[in-house]
Amino acid sequence: MRWGRGMNETFMLQVGDEQYLLKVTDGKLALEKGPFVMRSWRFAIRASRESWEKFWQKTPAPGWHDLFALLRRGDVRFEGDQRVLMAYLMYVKLVLAAPRDA
């Protein structure tokens, strides 16, 4: 995906109690499921399972259709290096929304 080109970072996705590490190597994505002990990541995105399930609907309802929509409603938390998140925001948004088409 062109928006991940040049990205070499690992970030954490938390879905309720489950943790995933997403390792991006020049836009290629590798997913690893936790639990993890003392693993590093640049930024983390955490939300409840219910929130992600609404987000991942094929046609999500208003207010559940975008990462920042979850942010506006206070249903997602960002941690770590926010600059890297913002630098790759388009890629991160598209990657997180990809399960809708699966």
Partner: protein, 276 residues
């Protein structure tokens, strides 16, 4: 080959060189673009013959935006939009262009400023249309990241705009809307958001809007979470006579993300204004 009926020219207003596009004849309809974008967003309105047969549609790029120039010395200042500057610029454009009692339609920051126009200039305006109007938006992300040397501003601004649209809007139109955002100058979106998220809180004043002098129409896309239907409902609840419509399946950029669906909502409003 098809050539669109839109013409674009530059007006020198005060010290500003302002680019504007227009099409049609009749009642002037001034269109205000969103934060960090430009007048291209209104292309579908400018190209709609059912509107331009009775309206002279004009969309100008605010200074710093689109093809309008930033002021001399821009490299030494941080651009920050304020209520006073925004309203002043719109009314100066209207006066200098000789537009008599125009309709003003604005989206997002433009949807906010029409509320200020309703308070201060109602007698000079025929009607106001607020798209995605809210009286205030609390900060829920830090707009400073959109103007940071280690974050590509175009990419970040585009990513912010992308999410504000409806997943039901056509891909082509959504991505063109993103493109406009990606072309904005450094710090311009952030400077507009200063008005939107910090300075331009109009909540305490909107109760004084008198729609018997100048009618106010509020059209809000249901997928917008920046100026959500709930935010617009809060405005409509405070402004007696305001006419609000929720636009199904549309997001924060109705006129550019899904022009056909938007025109379906706009045409009856313009027809009602014309007949009034």
């Amino acid at each position: 080959m098809k050539i669109e009926p839109i013409t674009g020219r530059y007006a020198h207003i005060g010290n500003a060189r302002v680019y504007f596009e227009e099409a049609g004849r009749g009642i002037p309809l001034v269109c205000l673009h969103t934060a960090g974008s430009d007048g291209r967003q209104y292309r579908a309105v400018l190209n709609d013959s059912s509107i331009t047969k009775s309206y002279r549609v004009i969309a100008f790029d605010m200074p710093w935006h689109g093809k309008s120039s930033p002021p001399a010395g821009w490299e030494q200042e941080d651009y920050r939009l304020t209520t006073g500057a925004y309203t002043g610029m719109i009314m100066e454009f209207i006066r200098e262009m000789g537009l008599e009692r125009p309709v003003v339609m604005g989206c997002s920051i433009g949807g906010r400023i029409v509320l200020d126009l309703a308070l201060k200039h109602a007698r000079e305006l025929r009607a106001l249309i607020g798209l995605q109007s809210g009286a205030f938006v609390e900060r829920y992300y830090d707009a400073a990241w959109l103007d940071h040397p280690e974050v590509h501003g175009g990419r970040a601004c585009g990513a912010v705009a992308y999410g504000l649209m409806s997943p039901l809007s056509p891909e082509k139109e959504r991505w063109e809307t993103v493109w406009h955002y990606m072309q904005g100058g450094p710090g311009v979106f952030t400077g507009d958001l200063y008005f939107y998220q910090v300075e331009g809180d109009i909540r305490s004043r909107i109760g004084a809007i008198d729609t018997s002098i100048c009618p106010l129409y509020l059209l809000t896309g249901e997928y917008d979470y920046s100026a959500s239907p709930r935010d617009t409902e809060a405005v409509a609840a405070r402004v007696k006579g305001a006419k609000m419509t929720v636009m199904k399946g549309l997001g924060h950029f109705p006129m550019s993300e899904n022009p056909e669906a938007f025109l379906g909502y706009l045409r009856p409003v313009l027809e009602e204004i014309r007949r009034a």
